[in-house]
Assembly symmetry: D2
Homo-oligomer: 402 residues x 4
Amino acid sequence: MTNHISLAQGREYLAIPGPSVMPDAVLQAMHRPSPNIYDGELIEMMPALTRDLCRVARTKHNVAIYIANGHGTWEAALSNVIAPGEVVLAPASGRFTHGWAEMAEGIGATAQLIDFGSSKAWELDRIADALRADTARQIKAVLAVHVDTSSSIRNDIPALRALLDDLGHPALLMADCIASLGCDRFEMDAWGVDVTVSACQKGLMTPAGMGFVFFNDKAQEKRAAMPRVSQYWDWQKRTNPELFYQYFNGTAPTHHLYGLRAALDMIHAEGLDHVWARHERLATAIWAACEIWAEGGALHLNVADRAHRSHAVTALRLTDGRGTPLRSFTESQLGLTLGIGLGMEDWDGCFRLGHMGHVNGQMVMAMLGGVETAMAALDIPRGQGALDAAAAALAARTITQS
Amino acid sequence: MTNHISLAQGREYLAIPGPSVMPDAVLQAMHRPSPNIYDGELIEMMPALTRDLCRVARTKHNVAIYIANGHGTWEAALSNVIAPGEVVLAPASGRFTHGWAEMAEGIGATAQLIDFGSSKAWELDRIADALRADTARQIKAVLAVHVDTSSSIRNDIPALRALLDDLGHPALLMADCIASLGCDRFEMDAWGVDVTVSACQKGLMTPAGMGFVFFNDKAQEKRAAMPRVSQYWDWQKRTNPELFYQYFNGTAPTHHLYGLRAALDMIHAEGLDHVWARHERLATAIWAACEIWAEGGALHLNVADRAHRSHAVTALRLTDGRGTPLRSFTESQLGLTLGIGLGMEDWDGCFRLGHMGHVNGQMVMAMLGGVETAMAALDIPRGQGALDAAAAALAARTITQS
Amino acid sequence: MTNHISLAQGREYLAIPGPSVMPDAVLQAMHRPSPNIYDGELIEMMPALTRDLCRVARTKHNVAIYIANGHGTWEAALSNVIAPGEVVLAPASGRFTHGWAEMAEGIGATAQLIDFGSSKAWELDRIADALRADTARQIKAVLAVHVDTSSSIRNDIPALRALLDDLGHPALLMADCIASLGCDRFEMDAWGVDVTVSACQKGLMTPAGMGFVFFNDKAQEKRAAMPRVSQYWDWQKRTNPELFYQYFNGTAPTHHLYGLRAALDMIHAEGLDHVWARHERLATAIWAACEIWAEGGALHLNVADRAHRSHAVTALRLTDGRGTPLRSFTESQLGLTLGIGLGMEDWDGCFRLGHMGHVNGQMVMAMLGGVETAMAALDIPRGQGALDAAAAALAARTITQS
Amino acid sequence: MTNHISLAQGREYLAIPGPSVMPDAVLQAMHRPSPNIYDGELIEMMPALTRDLCRVARTKHNVAIYIANGHGTWEAALSNVIAPGEVVLAPASGRFTHGWAEMAEGIGATAQLIDFGSSKAWELDRIADALRADTARQIKAVLAVHVDTSSSIRNDIPALRALLDDLGHPALLMADCIASLGCDRFEMDAWGVDVTVSACQKGLMTPAGMGFVFFNDKAQEKRAAMPRVSQYWDWQKRTNPELFYQYFNGTAPTHHLYGLRAALDMIHAEGLDHVWARHERLATAIWAACEIWAEGGALHLNVADRAHRSHAVTALRLTDGRGTPLRSFTESQLGLTLGIGLGMEDWDGCFRLGHMGHVNGQMVMAMLGGVETAMAALDIPRGQGALDAAAAALAARTITQS
């Protein structure tokens, strides 16, 4: 009898762009009995938890925690500030802005979409045109996806803020940082973001199931003026609770809170600036490898401009369309799971590398080594020395400025 | 130096009415890396998971799973079948019907409340009067809380169904089984319930953070006729997904699904009829002790009629109002945490015993033994032999019929 | 179809006299990747670990940690101080002294046994006779089991020390504290014990698999004079290692060390005096119940004299011999596992309650409530009100002196 | 302020030659309450556990399980078959044979050492000379280390067997498979090995703390003829227990047994032949990279001959002696911990790669990628394209024969 052998038996590495790799400390913290939800440590840990969560978004304002995924926070945020009949502007560089816009339609708003395709960052001119055209100021919010997980495009939020300011447009600036929080630099207050939505399963390294809406005073003013807000999504009691259960409008997500506490401890122990610098350096090494592979002509980075590439996810396209066989090989033969192409017409030919959260140098070499191995196995033409280039990028001595 | 000593150092027993005690198998199943969310075992386990979940509600129809607590499922269920301006009828035997009714108001409906106080089950006559008075059929749904966690009242759902049928009233019968699913007998289809909401952290023995909405064809007809439904709460794609992420409108609650799978395995291995019989027997033993304590005049069961007592939670009231000291004693001196009084004017004098889900004979004796010890320590007058009576009730040989 | 129902589905309580109930903190600490064994935190934590372990035995001297169970530490201790041909004196109040004596024979020593049966503590006069008769000073050690786990007898170590001193006999005093360390008061240095053996799975609350040998300078003198000592058991390098691996003569028991660290943290956070006082109080409550049950004539405590009862285990005997059915009932019907009778001729009629380590008031009530229930189910005659008496004992306000 | 950044924050990879990487399934299985040790599943699982353990050693004979590390099993095995005054022959290709020989001296035997240094496999001629010279047949056993963890030499056990047979020498053939069991092909019965010692923390993927001694009838004959055997190490009762506790001479290593059960399930689900083939292929890829690096002249594989290289560990030497800085870099900058040089005079210049047990393709690329990165950072001259060569080796389609 003869057999092909698999080299997958070992620690599996899930290198998709979320859920990310969960730290042991987080999983340990969640392996525990349910706590009392009326008294004791869980209740007492909330003020520091929300404060440390706000520190990750670099805001001194408020955060409401939802038992929900990222899509849930889209609806939660919208429900607090957009009434049926109002308009939102949605400049889309990938799939997720479309989703958020649909969510807005679902609550009765009108979404005005500007589509930049799935490989380009915002063109500010086109956004400016739309805002200038809105002389009636019907646009109440701009839905700004910071990093699009499908395309791996990173948009320039401060530039959008400057644009709104220049035009004197009063729309709220709402940022989706689901794929960037705790990965790419994001400074809510300094950047003038009014509402930020995010979730726990990417840069925040906690199993999926919890989302966050940060908001400032301007957003709260709009909330206060709303005719009616869903009880469940209402962020008011969640941020000024008289009783613990009001934080979550009902039973708290007990185990997730312990997990999040452990994750925030790790982030702040490392230092948020260092977390960002680490993601940047790891991304640089990944790009170094990918750009060499690309020399073979068979593989392309979805985002050409380094300045608009996420530090947390990298979307790639194989000219010959064999993205799915490549992913199958790494998963079944090497124990490495890569992300599928998402939101692309030729999704089957694409794949994505997730490098968000609990990721270090040896993991990046595993991920790239797996891709090299798969390309070798599938005879995909590629530039040589990609892995050496990545290693060199990781080895480079870097000075960061905080 | 002298010290009082505490006898709390040991395994803590959280005997509150939810979150309940989590089985080791559930916590083990959740202590794992995040799975792939696009392919593989997580995706493959969904059909059996939803089927086995429906079996717990005794329905052959549909279930939508939400990343949400019980309050979230209230809003989810209402959002699918109640449009702004419509009316719901809310017969309240305790606190939670009020909460659900407020949630209905939050989405723009009008809630017509019938308040039976916090110690009495529904009086069907009064409900009948309200339904008869609704000649215009404006009432689109009756919000029926099966077991109220605050009062420990268990209401008679089949009788309500019969009433609706007798009156020919077309309102949907919506049941809240958050505190009863997997504890008290509940048969959605046989009882003619149209929509059932529940959550995972009580009888389903999974850490808080996931909720369920079961619905039948009649409910779906109403859904189909809705002018607009929130994208996030919409149950349609969640129950007929083309892609896995549509089950959850975004990222799946990965770890909770593994936990729930383990919990459902335990329930069906024991057998649902046996689960119900076990809860009934344990409740009977608890009542036996409480009724003897009550002979001392200092303690009362909130629900006088055994036929309307939950098998999963028991609310008690101390005449002298020392509920809080009693709970403090069991927690700080014995390692036993009891539930606070909830929704009562004299809540401070009340306390609740949770006996839902992963509960067996030795745990019931621990809970009752702790209460006896606290009453002894606080010199609360009470009938003697309560624990012996509970033991005798547990010891009785029982024949159950399935 | 009819069924008998079981009330066992719920958290299982293992109330045997070791392995005891493991705290969540210990299990969490052990759920982790293997650490580096050549550098880093594991190596660095050893000095504090051995120091904190010595504090539990109240010694300022040395401890060698073995990957072994309690029986292993018997051989380890003997191997360091007893050469083939030498004599040990073994006063036995239960099964385990016999086992230790056989171990001594196994390494070529001669064991001189004094058998006090399985229900009586040492009679010092008979021990004195044996020591006086040893005019040639051939007895090199007295094997003194502090608490015998089978009989639940607690012997008086300080009295034995005084006897040796009075007689001027130079034999080493070797104490087996496997069932008493971290439960019953034991003070190695103050009591003049030369060698103490113990293990991790009882009062030290760590999964079975690690044992300890504490020794003082007098014992070390004897070690130094030994003609030859097994490399593996030799305690010298284990207590004065130049390299980390010498602590364990090879690979360290990595995960157990993390578990032990967590357990020691709990013990010292509570305070060792408080730990002892807690065990004493819990034992008193257990005895209160047992003594009332005994009034029915059907059950007896194995040890009549409270002064010689262990605070960590209680051996009981049913007159009608139905120990096994009683244990079967509690396990299969209530989720409570009791210890079997051990080392008794009528072992089948005996059973034991373990109450060592991570045990609190609610657990004691569960254990006693389970026994009461089983006796009710089996119609075993017994005094009434045993549980109320135990509750009263737990409720009593106690002043302890540290 | 400026900072150097570390890229270590992420999942740490411990790539030392034992303890190896523990599978999640093993750690999950160990995260549980202590079981009953007198009745129930733990007892019932022993026959299948010992059988499945024997299958890993390819023997139909016996295995005794010890709570001990590998060094403990050396003493255990020797104690059963070697009496004080007897002679053992110890052909050493690395450090560990020396250790085993010292252990033999510790129990009173004489060890006759043949030292082949730390980079060469056995020379059978020299062993033959020693055996021929033993005309009095005083040599009772040959201590044969299959794979030496320090040098990464793999010796040829079947050749040694053939030699003994050719010479008609009756000495027992005792093999140390601590670093090879479950990694390199080893067939106890077919190869004519009489006693095999191993431990759980390498190829068997279970946290350190348990060891195994396999033995056949010939070894048992020698055991039966021994004048006296330590009670604790005696393998007789451990393999023919009347009562469960005799398996372990006292309390069982409860949690380790559950861990081992999970590990054996994984091994046999994959298939032992496949496990061996996977290790071989991974080793081949590692060698491919190392041999290219070696072209730079700065790095050497300790074992020149591929036929004598372990498939589980690879020892390397840096000409410039910077082994320690290299390991420090990978650990502190990349999250990758490599093994120290062991048993070499220039140990500081050496390092080892562990690739045993739960290891797959992506892990090998991580390990090699980490070494490449460190060599780049330290400017160590090396051949280029080592990682590409490893990837190519992993990618190669292989047919294995079982």
